[in-house]
Symmetry: C2
Amino acid sequence: MKKINTSPISGAQELLPEQQATFNNLKNKIGEVYHAHGFLSIETPTIDRTEILFAKAGGDTEKQVYKVVKTAEAADEADQALRFDHTVPLARYVVEHESNLTFPFKVTQIGRNFRGERAQKGRFREFYQCDVDVIGRGNLPLAYDADIITTLLDAFEKFELGTPVLPRINNRKILNGLLMELGLNSQAGEVFDIIDHAEKVPPETTKANLEAAGLNKNEITKIVAFANLHGSREFVVKNLKSLGIKDELYNEGVDELDTVLGLIEAQGYQPEADMKIVRGLDYYTGTVFEFVLPEHREIGSVCGGGRYENLTGNFTEQLMPGVGGSIGLTRLFYVLNESGLIKDKMIKPLDYVIVPISENETEFAFETAGKLRAKGYKVDVNLTDKKLGDKLTYAAKIAKSGIVIGEDEVKSGALKAKDFETGETTELKI
Amino acid sequence: MKKINTSPISGAQELLPEQQATFNNLKNKIGEVYHAHGFLSIETPTIDRTEILFAKAGGDTEKQVYKVVKTAEAADEADQALRFDHTVPLARYVVEHESNLTFPFKVTQIGRNFRGERAQKGRFREFYQCDVDVIGRGNLPLAYDADIITTLLDAFEKFELGTPVLPRINNRKILNGLLMELGLNSQAGEVFDIIDHAEKVPPETTKANLEAAGLNKNEITKIVAFANLHGSREFVVKNLKSLGIKDELYNEGVDELDTVLGLIEAQGYQPEADMKIVRGLDYYTGTVFEFVLPEHREIGSVCGGGRYENLTGNFTEQLMPGVGGSIGLTRLFYVLNESGLIKDKMIKPLDYVIVPISENETEFAFETAGKLRAKGYKVDVNLTDKKLGDKLTYAAKIAKSGIVIGEDEVKSGALKAKDFETGETTELKI
């Protein structure tokens, strides 16, 4: 027989059942929190027209898109590809269904996206993203920026990682305004990029990069000092105001940052203002944020997002400002595992495995399983003719407890469950 | 501005939030029932190597597969395509991870599959399938055939469709054995195909098709009479035994059918034995089944599956018999809607929308929302500066109840919730 390679494709995360149960648990918690905060669930197709997907994208993204070859039967004119994020299909969705939606449209998408990235540890080509967005029609109050961030913070709280989560928040108007004031608007793109990467390189490299972008020593000193500014709302806002910048956009940005942080604090969180957070994507226009685990800085950002004033600009003339954020769950699960943050939380997928000793007990085992399922338990009945010991080994691998049913148990109806972890046996009341 | 077509691709089901909530509710119920019956969740990648996907497939399936064009960055040698079902990736998964799995491996996969079918009402190119399978190593007791069927029946029960669900069950060994006895084994493929389609064409067409396959009048009469046999286990088994067929496979099939139906009856269901159920796919070797809604025959089969003795034959020499079934949820949701079976079950996605009258009440509204969320409710806070009436219209569209918070409410702490359906106002106790 010709040996076929049965490994999954490179860049896919294929989990064993116990790992999958833990992954699903995180995914379900995210969904529950999003719904609890009033976000409505939608799903967009995995396949979309390239005309849509490339309407805004460019450069790197376009290079990573998986195109789809249509079959003879499904032939139509448009080129198609796999979506690389939820944001572009969302823009299409709100324009397409606008008359049937309520605005502000608070929406969540949890699903797989696809990017043909270079193979690398911890990078995935097929991955889950768990997005929340609010889309307004005409305008969208700033309070929704805080709504997005506190929703995501609540999700991380429900993960119970046992390590703090720090939201680092900024507003792109501040740096944009500062660059205007310094007459550096033409270098804005480069400066944003350099600051976005500043934490991944030594400080000298950042200075060298700014010099290469054409900034003089004085400007570099100012930008570096600015980028290093971070801390509590009061501290950062005071410092930003003390710089004496007159630019209108700058001051609007500082006020917005102050307001958004204030609303987050009012809900019991301690966010940090951080001028180094600028986010790579062009479409962000105001608030931007990333979450980190301060005790595990090596992990990098675990969540990010921001405000985009004109998401749907390529599809409609109606102004539709939005704000959103995303948890990249496939990567998050991978890095949390690598850092040992969920190892001891591995979940046994089932509550009980019932082990009938012989075929005579099958019917009673079914009955017992039915009763336990009605109480919400996950229950398997082992129907094999293997030895009792083998059946219990099987049970211990996938379930928290095992229930052996023999002649005596059928007669008396008295059942005992053995907890595989503690070894304790308790009477089962059903 | 160039107008871009914002409709989803042809063959995709894109739902509005209220419809999506109903869809998700069905999907979650399926998952819960599968887990309750002891099936472990796994996910395989959407993209797989064509070498894997085409190992067993052929003909029509191959014509419908969407190939994926890799990007420059994700280049490797193997051709890749989107999976067209969960079964083939499952075969790859159990061979790849065999040493880390427990057998019998009870497994569920719920996810999207892709087939480039000709565009047609109610046919989808991207669709959810909700699969359950049990894979054995070496052998797999017949009782698991009943386990699969009762699990699927339990899922349909939880849907509360308000219309009965009938499991129609057969065993391919019976027809195979009959054809052997009649010396028609060389026409078996054609006869299976003709019987599989018999319900979609007039009886004369079926007879004509059998004649075209080379059967004589006597043989046709026998086959037609056989295919029309259906009813209770006792009735059908008695009739099958009374035909005096000596073929061993035939009698094995009858005994297996008897056993499987008996086990299903023991769990309180009334399945029907039905000789017309043969299933199109070649890989089924024993039990085959389909569910129908007898009061809505126009819908056709809503679920199907069967036993396959050698799923992994292309990947390993280890014999791994399996039995499985699948609910095609995207199509099911479509046909249930078309038949009016879930129209009045449309779910309001949220429990409450809180409407603060002015910005002064925002903080109190957040606090109230937090308390309600802690109780498990889905709660939105409307943060816009729209008129009260507009905010309530928004609330009524997406939530069961609305809570208005003004100065008085903040002072007194006494809150009232208005049920949008009944119009009743009740005091909120939190």
